[in-house]
Symmetry: D2
Subunit: 360 residues, 4 copies
Amino acid sequence: MSFSVGEHLKLTLFGQSHAPAVGGIIDGLPAGELIDLNGAQSFLDRRSPGKSPLSTARKEFDISQILSGLTDGKTCGAPLAFVISNGDTRPGDYDKFRVQPRPSHADFPALLKYGDAHDMRGGGFFSARLTAPLCFAGAVAMQILARRGVTVGAHIAAIAGVDDDHFDLVNLTKEQAETPSQHDFPVINPTQGNAMKSAILTAKTDGDSVGGVIECAVLGLPTGIGSPIFDGLESAIAKLVLSIPAVKGIEFGAGFTIAGMRGSEANDVYSAPKGNKLRSKSNHNGGILGGLSTGMPIIFRAAFKPTPSIAKAQETWNITNGQIESLVVSGRHDPCVVPRAVPCVEAAAAIAVLDAMLCA
Amino acid sequence: MSFSVGEHLKLTLFGQSHAPAVGGIIDGLPAGELIDLNGAQSFLDRRSPGKSPLSTARKEFDISQILSGLTDGKTCGAPLAFVISNGDTRPGDYDKFRVQPRPSHADFPALLKYGDAHDMRGGGFFSARLTAPLCFAGAVAMQILARRGVTVGAHIAAIAGVDDDHFDLVNLTKEQAETPSQHDFPVINPTQGNAMKSAILTAKTDGDSVGGVIECAVLGLPTGIGSPIFDGLESAIAKLVLSIPAVKGIEFGAGFTIAGMRGSEANDVYSAPKGNKLRSKSNHNGGILGGLSTGMPIIFRAAFKPTPSIAKAQETWNITNGQIESLVVSGRHDPCVVPRAVPCVEAAAAIAVLDAMLCA
Amino acid sequence: MSFSVGEHLKLTLFGQSHAPAVGGIIDGLPAGELIDLNGAQSFLDRRSPGKSPLSTARKEFDISQILSGLTDGKTCGAPLAFVISNGDTRPGDYDKFRVQPRPSHADFPALLKYGDAHDMRGGGFFSARLTAPLCFAGAVAMQILARRGVTVGAHIAAIAGVDDDHFDLVNLTKEQAETPSQHDFPVINPTQGNAMKSAILTAKTDGDSVGGVIECAVLGLPTGIGSPIFDGLESAIAKLVLSIPAVKGIEFGAGFTIAGMRGSEANDVYSAPKGNKLRSKSNHNGGILGGLSTGMPIIFRAAFKPTPSIAKAQETWNITNGQIESLVVSGRHDPCVVPRAVPCVEAAAAIAVLDAMLCA
Amino acid sequence: MSFSVGEHLKLTLFGQSHAPAVGGIIDGLPAGELIDLNGAQSFLDRRSPGKSPLSTARKEFDISQILSGLTDGKTCGAPLAFVISNGDTRPGDYDKFRVQPRPSHADFPALLKYGDAHDMRGGGFFSARLTAPLCFAGAVAMQILARRGVTVGAHIAAIAGVDDDHFDLVNLTKEQAETPSQHDFPVINPTQGNAMKSAILTAKTDGDSVGGVIECAVLGLPTGIGSPIFDGLESAIAKLVLSIPAVKGIEFGAGFTIAGMRGSEANDVYSAPKGNKLRSKSNHNGGILGGLSTGMPIIFRAAFKPTPSIAKAQETWNITNGQIESLVVSGRHDPCVVPRAVPCVEAAAAIAVLDAMLCA
């Protein structure tokens, strides 16, 4: 079931970097929901490469085709099947990675698992290209969530050690959550954003790459959504976010910082309700207690490693002759995947949260 | 499916803090595996309370009863059903939390989700008591893993801001991984351990609590175990670890630190194989690439918040009269759950890893 | 996942004939449902042996213990874990079946699948004893269904070629559906019931056994419950019913008879609604179209083979010496499992239908 | 999860009769399997309409496109995503069925479940068109099974009360199982086949339809494949077969006939092994005991109702005005779906059996 996720809302992905297409099937969508495909395309555009010198030159044709699931533009109970063609694939010399596995890529473990049959071209199904259908599904989920008063928004929290401002754990507004993603480079603080861009370009010039952190918020979720234990909101969101290539960690609310606090400091003491919703004075738990939504903003951060494909020569081990050799990974690669990954994180969160709402 | 987890190895838990018992069913265990119940009990003892002034005075009777699944001490293909009686439950005045929900507990969202039917006694099924059956299942998994050459070991990486030494990401040995858990207070560096204990006792004296970090390693896993995308090892481990109460974050390998590295620094360049196993010079990816095991040590860290139940008076909101009131949470509570949570983290990792091995 | 079933309502069973207990966990029950344990015990009593010369002399102690899931007699959101002790087990000489597998038992394929570790005592987990927890779960489901206006009732449709009257596919009333199960020998027509009893006793005297058919009805289900394709009501019910030992076939509505009809005869033409519910003049489809409930009675029949354990000597193949040998299966065996299987079929139907209602 | 099925081999379908396409995703296929797409197309052709006056005149373009999952013609570990375009759709006047639901179609319950959003065109996703992707998946499964020595073959056992010869439960050969499907009209006995064809044509002339029975065999499956209880082979096969539109019953081995036998007659007594495989003298259990394969032929029969869409005028209930009205269902409809359904039944069996083998 490795390409399927979800309990009530079931998403199944398919694709390889150099196959004809990537795409997926979304089963369990409520019937009668209007889906704005232009809006979904705009969302997909946010993860598209080729828009600036900051990202890879590969041009994707992220035009999605709907094969079933929509009737007169609305969900009809049928699984929503969608296809995103893989344009502009270049054969390249990927076969050499069967002998010289790329450092910090899935090449070597994949060869052990799948044998010679593994598709090495562009990383096969380990390619970040698979996040395109994830984003499409996320765009669909976000449209349905919006109609239920739920907002999902993310921003770049850090790149190359340069930090953006943080979302306010307690008072984050819908507008604040949505604003960063309206910019090409989704940050809260444009000055910090410019410093990040400089760091990316410097790394690129050096034939190197940089990593970063994305912070994401879910606002407007009613209290009590989610499940205890294994299907808690943290588990559900983490499962999806950690399936995005390059993510190596996730933390909710105060995250790792909470480990150094005392209980009297960390506890989110309740304050008077605002409207009908209970409020707490702090939100170190990131809007989740016991796996359930508290009604406060859900806020989490995901750590992205620097792109493993770099222009610099690296050592690797030649499987066939047992020698340590120099490897140069040519091709088009992002010096930093973080800006393009922002909609991916939003999509992962939206899918997990909508599934939890539909299970309730 | 919130109380079930796993694909091939399916664990289903049950229980509430003040119900007659907690326990579970493990389906999908290979037949013919000898299970050492005394060993499993010893493992459970590591999470038992009441052993020292550092933890709650509640005495549990963690004696597990096997209802089915073992024939002549060996797994026989039947689901392994086990029961751990809830000894020493004290009724207490939990009903007041229906009106005055405890800060940073699941009380309030659970009341919204389950209504009056929610069992408030001892936190109901949100109680950390549910980690007892998780540990039993983990002990079973670890015995089977050991026979396949796989070791799981964890230690306290930090409490109250006091750091233990770290596991060596590259050269960690089986002995190093297993040694901490043989101590009552599982750390690598006993001096740091003493400082942690002092911090716990000070917090207790203050009527307060502290949090911490647990670091866990899985050694000996063959290369290529796991699945891509949604069932990647990181997703599978995170789902289980984040289901442990109080965990607010997880990171693999260099974790959040990798976000600040450059690719040329972060990349785990291959070195010559050691025996039959490929090695890398560094292991910032924590032994996982593309969701698959690389053959290097799998190492991750989980952040635990301080125990929310503290002796100090706290503000809360009275649901019925709408007033902000003072709440004192009496009862027996750990000033720090981290020492007892070490076997829980090992168990979560072992269950995820054995499931992945059996799916292969 | 072989011991788990269900989407929203998840039932996981455990047990072996000669293990300490059988039982299960029901996850996903709505919170706040009053469960009448005496009523559940009465339901279990219907499948209990030892009540008459018609069934095996083995005495079971079908007293169920609830380990979690009920608070003040009501479901509370926690998984409902229940245990039924295995009383009166007799060790017996089951080991000989490792060498001389019993005809029409699971002995031989189980030995191939599980090897020496297979528990041969009383059939291990292939024992019909596992239907005791199925019945308990069914009793719980039926109580919840009853509160939603849904009735499940079954009767013996045939034993040893003697037919009972049939349920009226169109006009079956709640009372008619429930009446047979109030008798020790659940038939509609007591004269036919007596003929069945005679046939059973004659077979018993001959050291032989007989089979039969059970017909089951579900009344009061709203229109549109169920799912298309793989989780259609027919698939869901069949999966559960065919998991009852000895069942070799299932048919819905007119069943195999419909294969010989013409469309103009088979089609269930709509008539005027009765109250708010649409009616059809016939119900050859057994209340299910496209996997969804139509609002008409759901009626199906399940075929049970004669008990394979008979007192007569039979030939079998000795695995170790390769000879055809005579085998006598001693022990306590029902000459006919059908009367005791009636509540099992009701339970299977109730679990499938409640799951479908909760998914809606 | 209604459009997904399987444990290790996960099939997810999509499509509607009048959407751009039908298709699916097969996840969990072993890597390195050569897939003969021409062979799969030939298999699909067997269910294609428009080949003879016996079936609907609608022309389908069953040319499948592979979007991912094959590299150099072999499975590579990626999900196999395939698309079958919906050619020759005719808009038609399906909207009238919202007011006048067709008897024995899913129209009415689907309107209750999905509301106005339900796609009524051609039956939406309740259309038998969804069996095209089922057949493609089955063709893939059968190619992989064949390489493991497993054969799946079916034939028309009866149409309109005319019976074909039966498969020999004990001695069925691979050739006998495969031969019927090589004919346009897949029967064992061509004389009976001609009588069936006459019955179909007569029904067509009368503006009516007929039903029938399909018998299917699985040969060569090793002993011990399958799982106990809920994932037994009977449950797994029945779940898939009953998801084929128009199927109202399934029976294994002697099926409903076994209910009238005595144990001494029904029991499948072991005879001497043939080669390495244990044999039984009879096979009333249809090759399955305790949910596991015995090594004898797996044989089952499925009952198909007559096509509900007939040219004759029928009564129905007008939802809006509450009147009983006359309904004429125009359009292209098979007078008998059974001949085209033979590969669908083979596909369902093959998918269930391959999943069970991969789980072992």
